[in-house]
């Protein structure tokens, strides 16, 4: 193997790749332009949804209002998120239809003589109709339930004091919950799931077009044969091309991380709910080191698999369809970071892509476990090496290289 020839091939392929518009779109435009837009869009969406829910009050229909005690009605009407409307009992079915249609959010029906039953301390029940498939309906009903249980507490307190028993006998103790998570860890749990997924997919996307172009593209243009009969050996050709693909994948992923960092730090409106958590995400030195250690072998693995698939394909188009299928194979394990309850352990460390996804999730939350990073580094590097060996073997095979 001749190092200077590898560098000649690497340098030429790098220039060729950097002049390719498709590659540049994925490598530069998506990280630098699309990701900040995505972040701004996402926060804007969250904000508009939250304020939208507030602006639009849920409508609750009361049937049998005349039997509801004044105190209970006052508690129901106190809630600012809901409006109360009363209809006569005969229109109950009509109201249930409206509930199913989503024009109202809950129907509360008070049985006849409900107020009398309370006074006489006889048992009774209130029926609430909800559409559990609708978030707004569920929220409205929980507001109704809160108001009614508060009313129930008042009734109980009144009955107890009638019997000369103090009211605080009902609350023997209180439970207070304090969140010890740092804002960064909160952001890690909220966005940590999404960021690794994005970064891994960007790493793959960045490597995708160079890989297709440098093998299947050369076949299609008829330049591969001239390269094969030049003094460059198969190993030198594969290595030169492989390294360009690794660089493309890595640069795309790192640019995406940088862009995410800048977007989260400067573009998110600090008054947005949850923004303080988000803005506490900082890509400090240790998380950048973790990202490099994780993404370098991952880019190596992607490059090896992609160039193998690409040299097998007869044409640019055929390679594209293989790579689209491959894309799904990468998306699924990358998606693992979004699943709750999947933790870094020795089993997940052995699965490429999955391990990277989990490491990046923890890095966002600032809880890196270095032994896991090391294990994943070894596993992914080994896989990248195997993929490269496989690619070299295919470049040596006449039936693959001349498969046209």
């Amino acid at each position: 193997m001749n190092l200077s020839r590898i560098s000649v091939i690497f340098y030429k392929e790098l220039i060729d790749t950097l002049r390719d518009r498709r590659t540049l779109i994925f490598m530069l435009l998506v990280p630098i332009v699309a990701i900040p837009l995505l972040i701004i869009g996402m926060t804007a969406l969250v904000v508009s949804q939250l304020s939208g829910l507030e602006a639009e009050r849920a409508e609750i229909v009361l049937v049998g209002k005349e039997y509801l005690p004044q105190a209970a009605l006052r508690l129901l009407e106190e809630n600012k998120e809901t409006t109360i409307r009363s209809v006569e009992a005969a229109r109950l079915n009509e109201m249930l239809d409206s509930l199913r249609m989503g024009t109202i959010q809950a129907v509360v029906s008070i049985p006849e003589m409900f107020d009398k039953s309370i006074q006489q301390e006889a048992g009774s029940s209130i029926e609430i109709h909800v559409d559990r498939a609708e978030v707004k309906s569920k929220v409205a009903v929980s507001r109704v339930q809160e108001a009614l249980s508060e009313f129930r507490d008042e009734v109980i307190a009144a009955r107890l004091s009638e019997r000369g028993i103090p009211g605080d006998i009902l609350t023997p103790f209180e439970v207070n919950v304090t969140n010890v998570a740092t804002p960064r860890k909160m952001a890690g749990s909220e966005f940590g799931a999404f960021l690794p997924y994005l970064i891994i997919i960007m790493c793959f996307m960045g490597a995708m077009y160079p890989a297709i172009d440098l093998a299947a593209g050369e076949k299609e243009r008829g330049t591969l044969e001239t390269l094969l009969v030049s003094p460059a050996t198969r190993e030198e050709i594969v290595l030169g091309k492989y390294l360009v693909i690794v660089v493309a994948g890595l640069v795309t992923a790192l640019l995406s991380i940088g862009s995410l960092g800048v977007s989260l730090g400067y573009l998110v409106d600090a008054s947005t709910p949850g923004a303080e958590n988000l803005m506490s995400v900082r890509f400090d030195v240790s998380s950048v080191i973790v990202a490099l250690l994780t993404l370098l072998p991952l880019a190596g693995l992607f490059a090896g698999v992609l160039i193998s698939v690409s040299v097998f394909a007869r044409s640019f188009k055929e390679a594209q369809s293989y790579v689209t299928a491959l894309n799904m194979v990468v998306i699924l394990p990358a998606f693992v970071s979004m699943l709750p309850g999947v933790d870094p352990n020795y089993l997940t460390a052995l699965i490429p892509v999955v391990n990277a996804s989990l490491i990046l999730r923890d890095a966002v939350a600032g809880t890196t476990e270095w032994s896991y990073v090391a294990l994943a580094l070894i596993v992914n590097s080994a896989c990248a090496g195997l993929a490269l060996m496989f690619a070299t073997a295919w470049f040596r095979k006449e039936s693959i290289v001349f498969r046209t």
Partner: protein, 243 residues
């Protein structure tokens, strides 16, 4: 000098059947002469030339290219040959100068050597005007010249042309034919393949008639006509392959 001895290449199709693309071919060609492999499509011309250029390894038999064995020292053979095929394309995002420089570097030439060689070739082929234009923006004729320049950057003693004129217009075709003649006049060993009889007659000092992977006859165009008693090569060809 090219010398093949019992050259055979067997492929297997999807069902595992044997296909003898090249079957026991032996011939030789001397420096300063143009040797033409003449035969219809699928005769085994491309496979033969790919073996000579070390892109494929022969199943059996061997070939010496400028005295170097393609089976034992393919790396050294590659330094001796220039290769041009009708399917050869260009790197569209590079200019002719960049592309030729790239191949010069692969052949281990220094920057000075490459620059001098490029001056020489681009002058000869009248390419100076478009040396810095990206290949994608060149006309067919210009592309053809860029391909030629690439194939001779290292001034190889042996030139291999696989159906170089297929699909070209008259002008580009003339450029190639002139260039092939020029190579032979410079004392290079030239082998080229074609399925066009007139081209073979015009260009070749020696012709090998190849059909279904076998070499049926060999000689100068006149030899072949005399041997068969025909007055044109097409009839001679049909008579030789016996169909």
């Amino acid at each position: 000098m090219i010398r093949t001895q019992g050259l055979t290449k067997i492929f297997h199709d999807n069902r595992g059947n044997e296909i003898r693309a090249v079957d026991d071919i032996s011939f030789s060609s001397e420096p300063g002469l143009v040797y033409g492999l003449l035969g219809p499509n699928g005769a085994g011309k491309t496979t033969t030339l790919r073996i000579l250029s070390t892109a494929l390894r022969p199943t059996s038999g061997t070939a010496l290219v400028n005295g170097v064995d393609v089976t034992t020292d393919p790396q050294k053979v590659r330094m001796q040959i220039g290769f041009l095929s009708w399917t050869t394309g260009l790197y569209g995002r590079l200019s002719p100068r960049e592309m030729v420089t790239y191949f010069g570097r692969l052949y281990g030439m220094t920057k000075d050597q490459i620059d001098r060689r490029i001056d020489e070739i681009f002058d000869m082929l009248d390419m100076k005007q478009f040396a810095g234009t990206r290949n994608d923006n060149l006309s067919t004729g210009m592309k053809q010249k860029a391909s030629i320049a690439r194939s001779v950057v290292h001034d190889p003693p042996v030139m291999i042309f696989d159906e170089p004129t297929t699909g070209l217009d008259v002008m580009s075709s003339r450029t190639i034919v002139k260039f092939i003649r020029h190579c032979a006049d410079q004392g290079k060993t030239v082998i080229f393949s074609t399925h066009t009889m007139s081209e073979a007659v015009r260009l070749c000092d020696q012709i090998g008639i190849i059909h279904r992977g076998r070499l049926y006859a060999e000689g100068t165009p006149n030899d072949l006509l005399n041997k068969t008693g025909m007055n044109n090569l097409e009839d001679a060809f049909v008579k030789i392959v016996g169909e």
